[in-house]
Symmetry: C2
Subunit: 376 residues, 2 copies
């Protein structure tokens, strides 16, 4: 979290939509001393967000002061629209009209349709800017909100021709005040990018997981980490994804055309697996997958293979993993990545640790000398 | 590792194919005092496997003793065929003929074609049994071998009508002596099961990762844990997967027909996302994914949602994660699952911890009181 003296947003900030993301924005700003207001179509959500400290309840203030007086006294510098995507554009347009002195940003995960709708409305688009914080949300609702939700995460800002410098300054300040790393893309670039890195992976995971509905349980008992990893996000909330996929249908479907062409080719190959060239076809698909995954940046911006991995066997008792990591710390090696593998049916765990390659052999030797079982 | 007095395989055991899996079998048996021999078509691989203690080199013994004398003196109780899948059947048939007193098991990842080829050969199929240890292998070669590779992992045994009880006893003993959990399936059940839990996930991950080849790097900079998880296994070795997908083409393609039907339906829906019923179609796909992923057994056999998760922010300095886990141990909560999330461009990590739901709130409170930042 940056120190307050470097912050940009001075407030007041009005947050519309007080779910996980909106309430997290409010909490993150409020702890920096910014005056925040929260508003939600659900009175309960708004009250919970206010109770946890995300901001004062706008509805209560309106009840106490009357609508016109309240609006004048709230007088937001910045409005953050954190509603579900399908009502984001309408909410932005209403805010631009109700608060002529405020800049308005939204944080929905699809950007081109919202900008188009705001432009078509005739509202003052110079005070509007679309943004998208790339923060996880496996839980929802204000109770799950945390001011640190955006720390170290990318936050995309989608500039457009008509935007005013003050609105860009505030949008950038909002993201950096909350600890995010800002990336500038235009709305089409953004929507194509999230189609590839977020929406199509969601579709593929759901398509795969869907095949497991009729699988015999004894087959599922053979599931390893590969199946768990590829299907984890298939557990996401359908309601939100219906809105996202509908709103970003064109970029998603254009990528899916490529998937379908490759899938059709593979199905044809596997229908005649002994035909000439069949093995080459399969090898090509696999190699293309290798080439694609190698392009994903790693933790410190490097390729994923920048670290060496080792897997250590641990008893499934409290304190074992802590003891292992304490000893790795004593050995003086920094852990770059860490995961624990599931062990079906037995009380033994495997901890996979990634370290810089130069530390790998020494770590293996020292852990071995201390009696740890290195599996691979 | 079970104590030696409970072990079944007394040896000698001859291991053909001394890569990661074969050498790991040798190491795991050798440390229990079983006499093991290793043989590989690559003299270097065979020598390395012998050097690391997986077994005596059969080629060297044959050079010293002559072929017939060596074969007589080796006299294996059990032969483990750990060659690449495309030569497994031919190797099994040759072993059944050369060693008439031995039981022969293979450990290739596709089972029906091998049994069919052994049956068709006229060799003594009563001494053959197909098996499949479900152990990870992101690395290859005997240098990566570990005797504990099979610990707590499923090991499938595929009985057939003609198999002798002694061969079943030895195959079962091999798996349990190495610490695996045995599952019995027939060859068709096995091949259908691994198509679903292993081969189709590999295909989907490769199809998805392949789309990333042309992605602008700034888009890839937005990648989160979802993309990393869904594409991780796309980094697998193409050579091995060409053999696996070719050998198991029929069960894989039958599952892919279902994927294609769902994909076609989704593409149609996304081509007209505002049509009647479009949102319902998307919701249905997402819900089917939810239903499928919920059926994957968790660590202790429960559903994945049996644990509550929380994410804690840690500095990326040595000892931080150890300190966190030590404190969780002090609080008295057992960690059921653990992973570290990547943080693009900043030296801050997020550790995701799964605990039993009854411990969740107490852990959050206690960690909060100790100054840890809980992100969600």
């Amino acid at each position: 979290m940056p120190a307050r003296q470097t912050a940009t947003v001075s407030g007041p900030v009005l947050i519309i939509g007080a779910g996980l993301l909106g309430a997290s924005v409010g909490l993150g700003l409020a702890v920096q001393g910014v005056r925040t207001w929260v508003s939600d179509i659900s009175p309960t959500t708004e009250a919970v967000a206010a109770d946890i400290g995300a901001g004062r309840s706008l509805a209560r203030f309106v009840r106490e002061e009357g609508e016109a007086a309240a609006r004048e006294r709230v007088d937001p510098q910045l409005i953050v629209v954190a509603t579900p995507p399908d009502v984001a554009a309408a909410t932005v347009i209403r805010c631009l009209r109700e608060y002529p002195g405020a800049s308005v940003v939204d944080i929905a995960s699809v950007k081109a349709p919202i900008l188009a709708e705001v432009e078509a409305s005739g509202a003052d688009v110079s005070r509007y800017l679309g943004t998208h914080p790339m923060s996880g949300r496996e839980k929802s609702g204000p109770v799950a909100a945390r001011g640190e939700l955006f720390t170290s995460r990318p936050w995309v800002i989608c500039e457009h021709d008509a935007v005013a410098p003050e609105t860009v300054r505030l949008a950038h300040g909002l993201a950096t005040d909350l600890g995010s790393i800002v990336t500038y893309l235009d709305v089409e670039e953004h929507d194509a990018a999230v189609a590839l890195v977020s929406h199509v992976p969601q579709v593929m995971s759901s398509l795969l997981a869907s095949r497991l509905r009729e699988t015999p349980l004894e087959a599922l008992g053979l599931a390893g980490q590969g199946l768990r990893d590829t299907t984890r996000i298939a557990g996401s909330e359908p309601g939100l994804w219906v809105q996202i996929l509908s709103a970003n249908a064109r970029p998603v479907v254009e990528t899916l055309y490529g998937v379908r062409a490759d899938l059709d080719r593979l199905i044809g190959t596997l229908e005649a697996p002994t035909a000439d060239g069949a093995r080459l076809d399969i090898a090509q698909l696999m190699s293309e997958g290798n080439a694609g995954v190698a392009r994903i940046p790693g933790k410190h911006g490097g390729a994923p293979k920048a670290f060496s991995e080792l897997t250590i066997l641990v008893d499934d008792t409290p304190g074992q993993i802590a003891r292992l990591l304490t000893e790795i710390g004593e050995i003086g090696v920094n852990i770059e990545d860490l995961r624990m593998e599931h062990s079906p049916g037995q009380p033994v765990g495997m901890v996979e640790v990634a370290v810089v390659p130069t530390a790998h052999d020494r770590l293996v030797d020292e852990l071995d000398a201390r009696g740890w079982k290195i599996v691979k």
